[in-house]
Amino acid sequence: MNHAAWKNRMEAMAPAWNADAGQVPLGWAAADAALGGGLPRSGLHEWWGERVHVRAVVVHVAWQLLLDADRRGDRSSVAWIGGETWPQPEHLVRGTRAWLTWMFGGGGGIGDGSDARARACSPRGSPQWPPQWPDARMHERSIMVDVPAGDRGARLWAVEQAARCRGLCAVIADARGFDMPATRRLQLAARDVPVLAWAGSARRRSGASAAATRWSVEEDRGPRPVPWLRGMHALAERIPAEPAWLVRLERARGRAVDPSCMPVDRAVASWQWQGVSEPPAAVRRAAQRRSRRVAEAADLATRRAADATAAWPGAHAADAVGASVSPSLPARRAGRGRDRMTSRGERWAGHVRDGVDNGRAA
């Protein structure tokens, strides 16, 4: 058996990832191209680098997986296993700085489906430049699992249980110190859920792994743009650069990655300025309430006008109940003081209009 046949047979026995699960584009052109469409939605994916840098990049990947699950109609959650992988609170809400994008016309990144150029030429609030709202879906659908960092067995068990759970769309795990059998177990368990495993600092890299992909992350110290700012803006020179990271795809099982020119992408914290165009539920409910009140007020004004017309056929309805019967604004009673009841329970306005005492007032 030659090498190619042997490799094909091994791949058939234990594929690098579940092809049925599909792939999720990460927005990193080089990596997506090397992987043939994006990160597989299954298998173990190993991340090497300093904790803070890996965590920032993995948050971006987790957001992409969560948004992809939502687009497919899958309301699944994200599990963060191990205290070292737990994200910062601001990582769990997307679009906290979306107002910057809205104000300065930047963004135009991955996933929001907008064209930065078209937006730059159109006024704010137009369909090309809609207002952006924060998106707290990750906050609502995250589970933090606290496993003792020193208990490697418990950590492996917890990650394996999470990898087998069909209600998750991503598992972010602290996989430091996992050896080949452990990663093999996780690779087999992660048939339906991608496991993003932080394997440790790049300086201490050692040991073999059965992960489907291997990534390394380091801080980008070169010149960096301000993505939420429109390119030609006058403020561009005065604002400190946004943090950025270099993400290198070092290995992908089943894919040829040339070690001499690995795909490298620049990652930025795009989740901070990419919000959603749909307002939050509370804002939407308030808008519904407001529109309902306005409609009810307009309805009331119309009915009062009709009543007044019926009561005083000769008088103009708007004169009797107030001139404002606009459907967009609540009607205001201009002659409120004249329409009061007297102490004897008689309508004062009626006598004024009729001009005669028809026997009701004593």
Binding site: N18, D20, A21, G22, R41, S42, L67, A69, D70, R71, R72, G73, D74, R75, S76, S77, A79, P89, L92, D135, R137, H139, E140, S142, I143, M144, V145, D146, V147, A154, W157, A158, Q161, A162, C165, R166, G167, L168, R191, D192, V276, S277, E278, P280, A281, R285, Q288, R292
Partner: protein, 431 residues
Amino acid sequence: MARTVSWFIAVVPVRWSVDRARAHERRTSSRDGRASAGSEAASIVHAMPSASRVHVPALVVSMHGARGRVVDACARAVSRGVHPGMALAHARACCGAAEEFQHDPARDARAFDRFAEWSLRWTPRVHAWRDDGGEASPRPFVLLDARGCLRVHGGAPRLADRIRHALAARGIEHALASDAVAGAAVVRATAIAGAMAAGSPADGAAIARAPIDDLPIEALRIPVEAVSGLREVGVRTVGQLRAIGRDAVVNRFGPEPMRCLDVATGAEPWPFAPVRAPDPVESEFRFASPCACMQAVEQAVHASLESLTVQLRQRRRGVRALEVRVEGAGLRRVCGTVHLGVAVDDAAHLWTVLRPRIERLHLGRHEDGQGIERILFRAARLGRMEVHEPGLHGADRSPSTPLPALDAEREVALLVDHLRARLGEHACRRP
């Protein structure tokens, strides 16, 4: 010596059929609802399935051939002129777009019985009354005998507030009244419910403060024929009925009106028929002799859990909180409650949750006469089990097939149970 204060709380659901139908619809839509692909907003809307429907008028309709008749209507529909008994076509003309539900009296009755059982959480003595659901029949009600429970709940006003909030959270529009006399509480709550059903809740607030003599005679729940007869002779309020001689009323309208009046004023005791609490779902295993063998204990736990889950499936319920009691000879009794994230009727999952705890049990030394004698499981809290379509979400599901929201939440809850059982109660957190 402290005197026991008698205090009764009457709860009258104002639009039971509508509330029941809406709750059913909400549950069904959340079970079957799936966010449409490509829409970010879909998942947000999905979190509040009823948000867009709350302001749509709802009608409960009974169909007789091609003709429909309104049996019950929500407050919004009532404000637009719809009333029970109206022809469906007329109601449609009044309401415009409205949600229409088929009237199901049997389901309403079953739901009300469950509501009465649910009310047992406030006090162990609950009286429930419901009619066959006829059009002219009075509204069903639940009467809580809060005697002896007021201290637990922090007083009568606080208990009433708790009940009010719990019912409002479940979307049950209700009238609530409390009084030292059971009949007075019922009469007052009935009158408030009548005012609310007519679309004037302000009148309901006034009724709550009004003396009982000012309430309409319909609130006494006397037969419809007697009410119409009394109204013909100008008797409209309880006070006017009291002013008439007893013999005159009995001779003309039968004994029922005066009996109802006596019950309302406390002259005659309320015919209290307590709702029986449902049998507890429990399972017990007794060893013939003290057992210190772990394998035997595990088998006993397995058998008990199987028996428990069979009972749960018969009731179509799952356990949310499981009380565990292990008693042994020469050993300390072990008691505890395991809380589950979702209703479970699966013995395998219960075993997964219990296994770390069972493994930590001290079984004693058989030679010293120590060992486990009795294992008892009791479902302290039950939850509704959602019905799944076989084969759709099972193991044969493709990974790319989206999991319905409820199933995804259930899977996550089971995972959390599993992790908490081994890693500790505080291992899993939500941000």
